[in-house]
Symmetry: C2
Subunit: 549 residues, 2 copies
């Protein structure tokens, strides 16, 4: 018998809330035909069977008998809090329609479908994972479902198990692929429906139809707990600048949400850096300026939030990296060039790149420049994710301040600590919000399946209201698509949602940040609470609140 924590045991008893419409029999209310957000003609041509379908909203309906059916589920990509609740919601939903219905889980991501690795869920298994974090119930993986052979291997096992519908839990790419799969099975008349579920802590899968991706709420609250603790330490010891890098891939949603929750002195937003075409020098000047201003009032401490993707949004660095990738590839073979030594490789790079890119390279701290010239991923590309941006920035700020000190413009002390938060929050136990939201998404998917839908994303809206008032339904995935260049070819994809500089969350942040830079206006959110006052346990993210105001 496995040891489980007291919290996990107590939390297993939590019954997630459902929208009112899903609490009894439903009927699907269909809207008008839909269009994709861009490139309508191309998307329509690529998805003749799943394009233009109506948005669906569930309302109370009449009970009717549903023939027995089986469902499969896949967890795709990085972990996000609430995945197990999507599964338990789907399980309960499927079983509520017909106790004989079965739910299968494919193991370790989309690869499990292709390789025919699966389990059948039982009451006992589901019960031991209710309201828990992680994807460990069936595991996840990053295999991309995009090839006909994979689809054909998939249909073999789907038929063998009598699976009528497949639910794919994933981010923008996985949901794009879910739609391609839905289209393929529809075109082939294989009779298998495909439903997507919006998952990612990064918060970049959202649009007019999807309010938020699941896991964003819990991950941001977990990071904010830690940032708040560090801020309190910072404000007690009054001697360090803490540079905190936060996961989130390209988008800065996590950094922005954490800033709204904790009010640090500085939060960089990659999308703004790009929009303003800022250089690394501009960013360093900005941070050093805040440090110097605070130091002039005896405040030699502060907190800086840095989004993971920052470095790639600095146009000059982006160009440098592009050229590095180019010169380090042998045009004859398309493979990475091979050098006798690291020093030879660095000399080659420096003599090969454009003077403007060389200048950028040489403006970087020596070890970072070295790393950029040397470390490659298996595809021969510069490993941008290995760059410790938080350390890079603090080093450059320290140099800038040293220069200012010589000029008599700065007389403070600067000492930095570094942190990177990502894995700490991806598998946290879901907040009440994510527990309810995910359970509803899963339960709702069972209703989309029972109503014969395919190529739809399970959607729950109005989530800043109490759960009973949430709106449940489905949106055709094609509606969220446009054409974008990927690996040199135009592909239909769900548009990734970056931080909008004219959106309410960023605008609120921008209106406050000078005050937060100057003052010590830290807020300490503390750990996620599951019991206790509702204003502590049931708040949505600040991002959602501001977007709905």
């Amino acid at each position: 018998m496995a040891t489980i924590s007291n919290l996990q045991r107590a939390r297993a008893a939590y019954q997630p809330k459902l929208p009112k419409a899903l609490q009894g029999p439903v009927k699907a209310v269909e809207g008008a035909a839909t269009q994709s957000v861009g490139n309508q003609d191309e998307i329509k041509a690529l998805f003749p069977n799943t394009y233009g379908m109506p948005v669906v909203e569930f309302a109370a309906g009449e009970a009717k008998e549903v023939p027995q059916f089986n469902v499969g589920i896949i967890l795709s990509g990085g972990q996000a809090p609430g995945g197990h609740n999507v599964i338990s919601g789907l399980y309960d939903g499927v079983k509520s329609l017909n106790r004989e219905n079965k739910l299968y889980g494919f193991l370790m991501g989309p690869g499990g479908l292709v390789d025919h690795k699966y389990i059948e869920f039982t009451d006992e298994l589901i019960d031991s994972y209710r309201n828990t974090g992680g994807f460990d119930i069936i595991g996840s993986g990053r295999t991309k479902l995009e090839k006909t052979e994979q689809f054909e291997k998939g249909i073999e096992i789907l038929r063998e198990l009598g699976i009528k519908a497949l639910v794919i839990i994933g981010g923008d790419d996985s949901n794009t692929n879910a739609c391609v799969l839905a289209e393929y099975y529809a075109a082939k008349k294989y009779g298998v429906q495909v439903i997507g579920c919006p998952k990612t802590i990064d918060g970049d899968l959202k649009n007019a139809q999807i309010e938020t991706s699941f896991g964003f709420d819990t991950a941001c609250k977990t990071y904010s707990e830690l940032i708040g603790n560090i801020e309190r330490d910072c404000n007690s010891a009054r001697k360090y600048w803490h540079f905190i890098k936060l996961m989130g891939r390209s988008a800065s949603h996590i950094a922005l949400e954490c800033a709204l929750q904790t009010q640090p002195n500085i939060c960089l937003i990659s999308e703004e850096v790009e929009a303003k075409a800022q250089s690394l020098d501009d960013i360093v000047n900005y941070i050093a300026g805040v440090v110097a201003e605070r130091a002039s009032r005896g405040l030699n401490f502060g907190t800086v939030l840095v989004p993971e993707g920052l470095i790639e949004f600095v146009p000059a660095i982006k160009k440098l990296i592009a050229e590095l990738n180019e010169v380090l590839t042998d045009p004859a073979t398309g493979e990475s060039r091979v050098f006798a030594s690291a020093e030879e490789q660095i000399t080659f790079v420096k003599s090969s790149i454009l003077p403007e890119n060389l200048a950028v390279l040489e403006s970087l701290p020596a070890d970072v420049a070295r790393q950029l010239c040397l470390d490659r991923d298996p595809h021969g590309n510069v490993q941008v994710s290995l760059i410790e941006t938080e350390k890079l920035l603090s080093k450059m700020v320290a140099s800038r301040l040293a220069a200012w000190k010589k000029e008599g413009k700065y007389a403070g002390k600067f000492s930095a600590q570094h942190h990177f938060f990502g894995y700490e929050g991806r598998c946290a136990a879901p907040s009440n919000y994510d527990a309810d939201y995910c359970y509803s998404l899963g339960f709702n998917a069972s209703r989309l399946i029972a109503n014969g839908k395919t190529g739809y994303m399970s959607v729950i809206r109005n989530t800043t209201a109490p759960a009973s008032e949430w709106i449940a339904g489905g949106v055709p995935i094609t509606m969220m698509m446009n054409m974008e260049r990927r690996n040199g070819a135009m592909k239909p994809v769900i548009r990734k949602a970056l931080v909008e500089l004219d959106g309410a969350p960023f605008k609120y942040f921008a209106s406050k940040r000078d005050e937060w830079a100057r003052e010590t206006a830290y807020v300490y959110p503390g750990p996620i609470q599951y019991w206790g006052p509702s204003e502590v346990c049931d708040q949505t993210t600040k991002t959602l609140q501001l977007e709905h105001e």
Copy 2:
């Protein structure tokens, strides 16, 4: 008006629990005369006025009028959750004796006493810090109170403010200094009492009289939340080994407690490494062995906890560092030697140290060896704390596994992620345990003061029982002392409590670790809860539970 989080607002209303004896008027029940734990003659000679005093326990007494008095408080050293509760407990305790009593806080640590920087606490100020983390109410600092001039500067302001007693919240060193100060003021008949309070997240201030230092509970629970989240991620993605370094200075109490809470595959214990005279090579072999065994069953993932102080407990590294410190100091001046270049310094080091130490140096990864030869602290010593032990170990394990792969002894995949947790937990909002314990320690200090005690530590015992059954009293600080060599001279100090290899917590861990290494037996404690079932909110540390069983 400062923004405060909903949790902080709701938590402010929490009324910490007190031991039954402190809920009304008390009387001090005194035991027999005490002895120091070692070097009785020397300690007695050094502390003629504060040696041999009896242990005090409070029992219900009769209400009597207490003349008005004022108290000062100092936060010394690193932050620990619950400091504000010690202050609010002391404030409430002092005010309950006489509403006219005043409590003063000296700012930014012991330096505030010497520099005469202080504030007077008010109801409003105290109320806004109840049950919060951090030391920001008055700040903390690392100035050591050990010189006569400091004591004399201190008495000036203490007299000016009419302060009858000073409470010093700190770790072993600060409490040692509190006792020296108590002795000095007693010898001089200055009429100022000094009371200590046992603080440190590291858990190394404990002994037969002190069950635990405050903050250890909350810090360990916060780190365990994060470790559990990482373990869940690890077990979901099944592709990384996570190396997690944990604060705690020399002692491995934090690592051990977190291991007991989360059941990782590996937890290193510095005290065991030293006792077994293990080499870095032994440690690397142990970790690589566990990795290889799991890999042979397809489990290419795991979690390793590394105590902060590990590297200094490896005898061979300890010797190397000692020799590096020696050869890099110029014997003529006692200052650090100066070199023309880094390369020259490295060459000098390599040609100067003993062959056995050179062999150890050369067994380290190149960048770590380089750092050891080059980076010095302001006193010219090797900066051991800068060594990223978690990365050092994972690099060496990777090399070992690569060698084993060539020998056909290993066929898995090894990919590592690194984490270091410290600042994330030092200022967390106190758990119910720490909130109650700290409030009781502070309240209890007011009773020690009212009873005329000096040179005592405020002590609350029996804390695995419900708070009402806790035992409150005081222990002479001299009782915890012995003589130890510090900076080349014998000094009276409180003996630092390292992990005892024959203690119940370590023995339980040792009995389980092989199973935890092999199986994936992770436990996910989740975030600290303040409301909800008692078994979730009110548990003590596993260390305390095992010690009391």
